[in-house]
Every structure is written in structure tokens, then in C-alpha cells.
């Protein structure tokens, strides 16, 4: 009989995740026992309180560094803390948007168009299941980039994905589309999880270990069957690249971005990218670092296709959410060039880019939630015509986010793009810099087209209007706007902080 050893956990270092999980459980209990009248406000405050508390804990442990916080399954190091903090900040801003109940159906189980659905809407109740789901997803996203063995990675991957599948189907309007998006996301996500597991199995076969450190040693030692290693890397990458929406694993992105309720899209687009790229960075920088000869060419090709495809296809989009989806694909390509760089500058740049991009994305989708007509959000680009006339402030803010995506100086996007491309160049990968710069030029075209529509096209008189945002939504928009500009003009403190802390431990 194997002696059972009680795991020793460093609760202090795991506190952020534990707090989020505790909060999630608490919200589930609230869901069951609180009356419907006070549930929305109670859930919202618990969720926000949890996230802020966790953020405080992340700040407290910001200088810690440990491999043994949970028996070698997670690493607490600079990148881990930065990524966790990014996820939490994005989650807080995302929850501000999610708090607008108008986007969510009341009882997700009712059939679209049925009598029960109408009755549930008439009852004036609000859907609150979204809060526990969000918290579980956040916990998964915090675990994903710090996990250091393949099993924990897989658990984290599922933990962040499952709630998102559900959340994608909760839209109040155009419910069939929303449910279709959820199903699509779920099915493809399940496939990619299978790929991930398959790859993990091969890596175990190669190295005899599921920990990233063990795989690293096996790679450096040169023992083991390198065919297993190659197959393992490829399948593991498929699972990971699916999450970030890199071509050719991007097919879900536009449909899910369009179908999901916009606040969920905002949260998902921003935070999932941070978590998934965090994990990719850790795996490729620590585990596979010495096998770069094997994976670099593949990833380079994928990055190039992703950048070019995302920018080109985005041009022909007529729907703002689909356009942002393709733009997110292009940005995944830019971010991949930071992964490929495989140097300190690449790591710093990727973390900065992830945060800057996440903030701008949240802000952009927050603006999308405001443009409505009597039937809900208006996402058809043609009906955004003349928005600059109708509400100059909102249009200016949105234009700023677009300029940040396009990488115009004095916005965060420019600093991000500069740092990530210079890191890629430093690693000797000039091709990717050239392609990246050219696809940025293509991408600029469709961002600018939206600006033209908003500012230089005459007002469309079709009932489209910008609603007065709630205080929370307003806070999101103002904060994301301020951060986007601030990171563009005075990025120095933030960059210093990243470069002094972002060192992976093995």
C-alpha cells in the first residue's frame, strides 16, 4: 500500500486563486438561497469584492518566487504575478459590463420564442448565474498561466473553458445565434482539449514526466524518442493555439464573438487571451526552450498566416463584432511573434502587449454595448454611420481604441507593437517583422474605415442611438480609455516593472 502524504500547500502564495474560488462557491450558495430581489446586487458585490481582494493578495506577493507553492504544480514567479494581475484587472472591468443585465436572457433554459421565455422576460427578473460562472472562469484563467505540469494545465484549461461555453449562450436577443455560438465553441473546444490531452500523453511518453521541468530535462538530455516529442509539441500546440484563435484554429472566433452577449465577448476576448498566451509563454519558454529548432519554424509559419489572414479577412466584415474578432486573430499573430522571439525582451513585450490589448479590447466592446436600437445592440457597421455626430465623446473614445489596435503612436498599441517587433527582430526573425509591419498596414485600413464611417459619413436615420451608459459601464470606458492613452504616453514605469519582475523560474 502506498503511504499517503498530505500535500503541503503554501496558502499564502495561492491566496489569490483560493479567494476567487471561495468567492465562486459563495456566489453559488447565494444563487440557491437568496431571494430573487436582492440577488443581483448581492452577487455583483460579492463578485467584485472577491476580485478586488484577490488583486490585493497578488500585490502582496508581488516579489515572491516559489516553485513549491503546491507541490511543484504551480510556479509563483514574476510572469505569473503579472499575468494574474492582468486577468484580475480585466475581470473587474469585464464584470462592470456584465452587470448590465439587459444583455442576458432571464432563464437560459427556456426555448427561444416560447411562451415561457416571454413570461420570464415580463417578470422583470434578472439572470445572476453569470457571476459564479465568471468567477470560476477567472480562477481557471489565473491557474492556467502558472501551472507547471500538464495535468494542472489541463484542469485549468477546462476550468476556464467550461464556464465560457455556457456564458456564450446567455444572450437575451438573437438567442438562436447565441446558442449556436455556444454549441460551436463547446464542440470545437472539446476537440482542442482532446488534442491537448493527446499531446500531453505523447510528451509523457517522451519524457516520463508530466511536469514542465521534467520535460525540459528530457529535451536537454537528448534522451527519449524525439518523434514523440515532436508529436507531443504539435498536438499540445493545437490545443493552445485554438484558445488564442490562431489560424488555422480560428474558425470559432468570429461566430462566438458575434453570438455571445457583448459583455461576455469583451471579458472573454481580453482575459482568455492573457491566460492562454500566459500558458503558451510558460510552456515554450521553459519546457520546450531547448527544442526551439523543432517548433520555431512551425510557429513562425502559423504566426505569419495568422497575421495576414486576420487582417485580410477583417477588411470584408460588415459587422463590428466580427470585425473585432478577425482583428483579434491578427493580434494573436502579433503576439505569437513575441513567443517565437524566445528572449527576455519577447517575454516583456508579450506581457505588455497582452495587458494593453486586453484593456483596449474591453473598452472597444464596452462601446459596442452602447450602440443600440429598439431591438438591442446594433452591430451592423453601416448603421454606425455618423456616430461621431450623434455622440462625439463615445465615437472619439472608440476611435482611440481603434488607433491603439492599429498601433498609432501615443497609444498603448504602438508601444506594444514596437516592443514585440523589436524583440522578434532581436531574435533574428526578420521575416516576421516585415510581415508583421505589412499586415499592420493592412489592418490599419479596416480600423480607419470604421473611423471614416463614424466621423465622415452622414447620419443614418434608422433609430440607432447611443444609450446613456450605466455608471459601471461608464467607469469601464473611462478607465480603459485612460489606461490606453497613459500606456502610450508614459509607458516607462509599467515597462520597468515588467522587465524587473518578468523572469520565469523552472
Amino acid at each position: 500500500m502506498i503511504a499517503f502524504v498530505a500535500p503541503s500547500l503554501s496558502y499564502s502564495l495561492l491566496a489569490p486563486i483560493l479567494i476567487v474560488l471561495g468567492g465562486a462557491v459563495l456566489t453559488v450558495i447565494f444563487e440557491a438561497f437568496l431571494s430573487k430581489a436582492i440577488r443581483p446586487i448581492a452577487q455583483l458585490s460579492v463578485t467584485l469584492g472577491t476580485l478586488v481582494l484577490a488583486l490585493g493578495q497578488v500585490w502582496r506577493i508581488r516579489h515572491e518566487s516559489s516553485m513549491t507553492a503546491a507541490m511543484g504544480s504551480v510556479a509563483i514567479d514574476g510572469p505569473a504575478i503579472l499575468l494574474q494581475a492582468s486577468v484580475l484587472i480585466l475581470a473587474v472591468l469585464g464584470v462592470f459590463l456584465i452587470a448590465d443585465h439587459d444583455h442576458f436572457t432571464v432563464v437560459a433554459a427556456t426555448l427561444p420564442g416560447s411562451e415561457e421565455e416571454l413570461a420570464s422576460i415580463r417578470s422583470g427578473e434578472k439572470l445572476t448565474e453569470v457571476y459564479p460562472l465568471t468567477l470560476f472562469a477567472v480562477a481557471g484563467m489565473m491557474l492556467f498561466p502558472i501551472a507547471t505540469d500538464l495535468i494542472t494545465l489541463f484542469v485549468a484549461l477546462e476550468m476556464l473553458s467550461l464556464p465560457l461555453y455556457l456564458m456564450a449562450g446567455l444572450s437575451r436577443r438573437r438567442r438562436l445565434m447565441s446558442q449556436e455560438a455556444a454549441l460551436k465553441y463547446f464542440l470545437l473546444g472539446a476537440f482542442s482539449s482532446a488534442f491537448f490531452l493527446f499531446g500531453a500523453a505523447f510528451l509523457y511518453g517522451f519524457s516520463g514526466s508530466v511536469s514542465l521541468a521534467g520535460i525540459f530535462e528530457a529535451v536537454s538530455g537528448g534522451t527519449g524518442n524525439s518523434v514523440f516529442l515532436l508529436i507531443g509539441i504539435i498536438f499540445l500546440s493545437v490545443g493552445l493555439l485554438f484558445k488564442v484563435g490562431a489560424v488555422p484554429f480560428h474558425a470559432w472566433t468570429p461566430d462566438v464573438y458575434q453570438g455571445a452577449p457583448t459583455p461576455v465577448t469583451a471579458f472573454m476576448a481580453a482575459a482568455t487571451k492573457v491566460a492562454a498566451f500566459g500558458a503558451i509563454l510558460r510552456i515554450f519558454y521553459t519546457s520546450f526552450a531547448n527544442a526551439y529548432w523543432d517548433w520555431r519554424p512551425i510557429l513562425t509559419v502559423i504566426a505569419i498566416i495568422t497575421m495576414v489572414f486576420g487582417s485580410l479577412v477583417a477588411i470584408s466584415q460588415r459587422d463590428i463584432k466580427r470585425m473585432l474578432a478577425y482583428s483579434s486573430i491578427a493580434h494573436a499573430g502579433f503576439l505569437l511573434s513575441g513567443v517565437i522571439a524566445l528572449n527576455k525582451a519577447g517575454l516583456n513585450a508579450s506581457i505588455f502587449y497582452l495587458f494593453a490589448y486586453g484593456i483596449a479590447t474591453l473598452g472597444a466592446f464596452a462601446v459596442v454595448t452602447l450602440v443600440r436600437d429598439s431591438a438591442g445592440e446594433v452591430t451592423d457597421l453601416n448603421r454606425w454611420a455618423g456616430l461621431g455626430k450623434r455622440s462625439p465623446f463615445i465615437a472619439t473614445v472608440f476611435a482611440t481604441f481603434l488607433l491603439a489596435f492599429a498601433g498609432i503612436p501615443l497609444t498603448s498599441g504602438f508601444i506594444g507593437k514596437f516592443s514585440i517587433f523589436s524583440a522578434a527582430y532581436e531574435s533574428g526573425n526578420k521575416l516576421i517583422v516585415v510581415v508583421g509591419v505589412l499586415s499592420s498596414a493592412i489592418a490599419a485600413y479596416f480600423y480607419i474605415r470604421v473611423i471614416v464611417l463614424m466621423f465622415f459619413t452622414d447620419l443614418a436615420e434608422d433609430g440607432t442611438s447611443v444609450i446613456i451608459p450605466s455608471i459601471l459601464t461608464r467607469a469601464t470606458i473611462v478607465l480603459t480609455f485612460a489606461i490606453t492613452i497613459f500606456l502610450g504616453v508614459f509607458p516607462a514605469p509599467f515597462l520597468n516593472f515588467i522587465s524587473s519582475t518578468a523572469i520565469f523560474i523552472r
Partner: protein, 499 residues
């Protein structure tokens, strides 16, 4: 140098309704800046070839980026050009913001932001900072054209922005390369003089040079990168066009001197023949197309392409006369284009059309306007005694000493200039007054005040260019020397050739 920002902030806080106050405030700001600019120019030590008025603050230490400013004679002249034209443009286009897509206030806010960035781009002494100004400048211009222009303004604005962005991104790739190479050779930096010391392999240098040069050639604009210019100039308000052609496009030619030559002297030498050919093509092509234009604004745009050909020719002739001439040309072209555009703008806003064929016999109806236009036209075709003549002559002399054939062909550009200026002047100003022109009013006091200094500068510099040349010559000689060139005919003293 931060004055215009202050003005922009002040103007932006004004309520929308107070249009007049916004205008007055914008005008006052540009005027103060102009006075400050002149004051700075008087303190400039002209025989000192080092950068002056240097200031430097650490901006993004992680990347070795500094907020570093400093100017030499060439930059000083261009900054002077910017700050002098700004108040004139505001005064001349007193009413042009009315009828735009947005409020009058935003027009002046954009204008002042643009002025700040123009000064910044000429004064920047850090490649990264230069790039930031270079790109960020596009945004206000884009909104100025798209929001307040006429005709197909949105399309023109987008075309302008996309061309410039494309060039800018190529330059960004080069800048990234420089940054990384500087890191490999002893520490990341963006300081121009430090970057000029880098050891580059000739392939790398050629490629990086192209990245910069194409960006500047689009901006300047040189044939075959010019196609955005006529559309933009046609759609923009006259004031915006003046700033666009008069100042903004000079960033391209300024960049060639400051960045292409200084950072990549060998590559500059390699590409010189190609560029000389492009410049000559621009001169002749721009002139021919200008002759064929039926619209005043497009006509002026094409003449500018021809003139930018001269400037580029002067720069890449790699002689100190050529450089002095090119720099002086930038300044003079700014003023003569300003005069042409402003008067053409007044003519077309009175007539409601900018087609040359719609005008006729303005000489009788509006003598002052007609004479002013005539004067500006003469300056554009480089009549001796007006400022452009000096610079065109210097460019041609400078080119002839090294590339006689190019200089001879370019000289034909002057002949063509006579055609493209005199033909429309004859059609529009002389002859019997045609229908629809009888009741046009002449220039009012404000317009006279705005145009007078422009014409005065053109005239004074035509006879007495030495104050400017004294500032330019040492800097031009210095930049030639830094790029590793010597004048082929040292017997022509650079000062002697100017008198």
C-alpha cells in the same frame, strides 16, 4: 515649444458657441508662438554647426528612448517656416472651419495640435521621438481634411492616411532594426548621432535606407509615390493645404537630409543615381501634368510635385550648394505655395468653383486679388528677384557640378513652369470678364493683412536671401561633410555662389 499645446487645451475648454473667441485665441497662440520662434532664431548662433537649444529628458528608459530636442540651421529654418505660416493660415482661413462636420472649436484644436507636432518633428533628436511625431501628426491632418474639406474629402483623407501609414510602418521596421543593432553594438539607443556611428553591413544599410527613404518619398511626395497629394490638396481647406504642402511635406525632404544621409551615408551614395532619376522625373512629370490641370487646387498640387523634385535633386546632388538650395527651397516653396493656395482658396470660395475655366477677367473686377495671385505665380515659376529664383538657381548649380545632365533636364522644368503658371493666369485673370465673375468682391482687410507678409517675404528673400543662407550654409556644409562628401568644385565658395 509647448506653447501650442497650451493653446490647444485652452481652446478646447471653450464652449462651442463662442466661435469667435476660439478663433481669436487660436490666432493669439500661433502669433505668440511665431514671436517666440523668431526670438529663438535671433539667439541661434549661426556659425556653430552643433545642435542648439538642446534639451533631453528620459522618456522610456527601458528602450533607451529620450525626449531629446535640438536643432541645427536646417531644422531652424523649417521651424521658422511652420511657426510663421501658422498664424497666417489661421487669419487667412478665418471662416473656413464653418460648414465643416464638427464645431469651429475642434478645427482650431486640431490645428494647434498639428502645429505642436510639426515643431516637434523638426526638433526631435531621437529617432523614436521623431517617429512618434511623424505618425501622430497624421491623425490631426486626417481629421482636418476629412472633417472640414470639400468634395470627396473622406476618400482623400483615407488615401492620405493609408499612404502615409504604409510608409511610416516601413520606417518603423527600419527603426526597430537600428534599435536592435545598436543594442548589439553596445547599448540600445535612439540618439541620432550615436546611431550614425553604427557599423552596418552594406546590405543591411541599403535595406534600412530604403525603409526610411520610401516613407519620406511618400511624404515629400516624389514620383511615383505622389498620387495621394492632388486628391488631398483638392479636398482640404486652403489653410490645411498650405500646412500640408507647405510644411508637412517638408518633413519628407527634411527627413532625407537628417536621417537618410546622416544615418546611411553609404547607402545614400549607392542609391543616388536612382533617386536623381526619380527627382528629375518628378520635376518634368509634375510640370506636364500641371499644365493639363483644369482645377486650381490640383494645379498647385502638381506644381508642388515638380518643386519637390527640385528639392530632392538638391539634396541628393550631395553638394553644399545643392543642400543650401534645397533647404532654402523648402522655405520658399512654403511661402509661395501658401500664397497660391490662399488666394486660390479665396477665389474659389467667392466664385463657388475652383475650375480654371470658370474664371475670366478677374483683373478688372478684383485687381488686388488678381495682382496677388500673379505675384505668387511669378514666385512659383522662379522669376529672378523673387525668392524661389535664388533657391532654384542654387539647386541647379549644385547639381550641375556633379550631375550636369540631370541639371540640364531639370532646367527644362523651369520652362514648363512658365507654361503652367502663365496659361491659367492668362485665362483667369486677363481678357474680358466672363459670366458669373462680374460681382466678385476684392480682398477684404483681413485677407490683405494675411497675404501681405507672405508676399513681402517672397520679395525680400528674392533680393536679400543672406540672413537665411547664413544660417543654412554652415549646417548644409556640415551635413554634407558628415555624410562623407566633398564639393566637386571647391573653387565655388558656397557663399560666393549665392550673391
Amino acid at each position: 515649444m509647448l506653447l501650442p499645446v497650451l493653446g490647444a487645451v485652452l481652446v478646447s475648454t471653450l464652449p462651442k458657441a463662442k466661435e469667435l473667441l476660439a478663433k481669436q485665441m487660436a490666432f493669439a497662440t500661433t502669433l505668440v508662438v511665431a514671436v517666440a520662434g523668431i526670438a529663438m532664431a535671433t539667439q541661434f548662433q549661426r556659425d556653430n554647426v552643433d545642435l542648439q537649444f538642446v534639451e533631453s529628458h528620459s522618456w522610456i528608459p527601458t528602450f533607451g528612448i529620450n525626449y531629446a530636442l535640438g536643432i541645427d540651421g536646417i531644422a531652424l529654418v523649417l521651424i521658422l517656416l511652420s511657426v510663421l505660416l501658422a498664424p497666417i493660415v489661421v487669419l487667412a482661413g478665418w471662416n473656413e472651419a464653418v460648414g465643416g462636420r464638427w464645431s469651429v472649436k475642434s478645427f482650431y484644436v486640431l490645428m494647434l495640435i498639428l502645429e505642436t507636432m510639426m515643431i516637434g518633428v523638426f526638433a526631435a533628436n531621437d529617432v523614436f521621438l521623431f517617429y512618434v511625431f511623424f505618425e501622430a501628426m497624421l491623425v490631426p491632418v486626417y481629421f482636418l481634411i476629412g472633417g472640414y474639406g470639400s468634395g470627396a474629402r473622406a476618400a482623400a483623407a483615407v488615401k492620405f492616411l493609408l499612404y502615409s501609414l504604409f510608409g511610416g510602418l516601413l520606417m518603423l521596421a527600419s527603426i526597430i532594426a537600428l534599435y536592435v543593432i545598436s543594442g548589439e553594438q553596445g547599448g540600445h539607443t535612439f540618439d541620432i548621432s550615436a546611431l550614425a556611428q553604427l557599423r552596418l553591413s552594406s546590405t543591411t544599410e541599403n535595406l534600412l535606407f530604403l525603409g526610411f527613404f520610401i516613407a519620406f518619398a511618400i511624404k515629400a511626395p516624389l514620383w511615383p509615390f505622389h498620387t495621394w497629394l492632388p486628391d488631398a490638396a483638392d479636398a482640404a481647406t486652403p489653410g490645411t493645404s498650405v500646412l500640408l504642402l507647405g510644411v508637412l511635406d517638408k518633413v519628407g525632404t527634411f527627413g532625407m537630409i537628417r536621417y537618410c544621409l546622416e544615418l546611411f551615408p553609404h547607402a545614400s551614395k549607392t542609391f543616388t543615381p536612382v533617386i536623381i532619376v526619380l527627382a528629375v522625373i518628378s520635376i518634368i512629370y509634375g510640370a506636364f501634368l500641371a499644365i493639363g490641370q483644369k482645377d486650381f487646387k490640383r494645379l498647385i498640387a502638381f506644381t508642388s510635385i515638380s518643386h519637390f523634385g527640385f528639392i530632392t535633386l538638391g539634396i541628393f546632388a550631395m553638394t553644399s550648394q545643392g543642400h543650401s538650395g534645397a533647404t532654402l527651397y523648402m522655405f520658399n516653396h512654403g511661402f509661395s505655395t501658401a500664397a497660391l493656395f490662399l488666394i486660390a482658396g479665396w477665389m474659389s470660395s467667392r466664385r463657388g468653383s475652383s475650375k480654371i475655366a470658370d474664371f475670366g477677367g478677374l483683373q478688372r473686377v478684383t485687381p488686388i486679388m488678381a495682382w496677388a495671385f500673379f505675384f505668387a505665380g511669378m514666385s512659383s515659376l522662379a522669376l529672378p528677384g523673387l525668392s524661389s529664383f535664388v533657391s532654384e538657381f542654387l539647386v541647379l548649380v549644385g547639381t550641375y557640378t556633379r550631375y550636369p545632365v540631370a541639371a540640364v533636364i531639370a532646367a527644362f522644368g523651369i520652362v514648363l513652369a512658365a507654361l503652367y503658371i502663365l496659361l491659367p493666369i492668362q485665362r483667369a485673370l486677363h481678357g474680358p470678364t466672363t459670366d458669373g465673375n462680374e460681382s466678385l468682391t476684392d480682398l477684404n482687410l483681413r485677407e490683405k493683412i494675411a497675404i501681405a507678409p507672405v508676399l513681402a517675404v517672397i520679395l525680400v528673400l528674392g533680393f536679400y536671401p543672406s540672413p537665411l543662407l547664413n544660417v543654412i550654409n554652415p549646417a548644409a556644409a556640415h551635413s554634407i561633410a558628415k555624410a562623407g562628401f566633398t564639393d566637386p568644385l571647391s573653387s565655388i565658395d558656397s557663399k560666393g555662389a549665392t550673391k
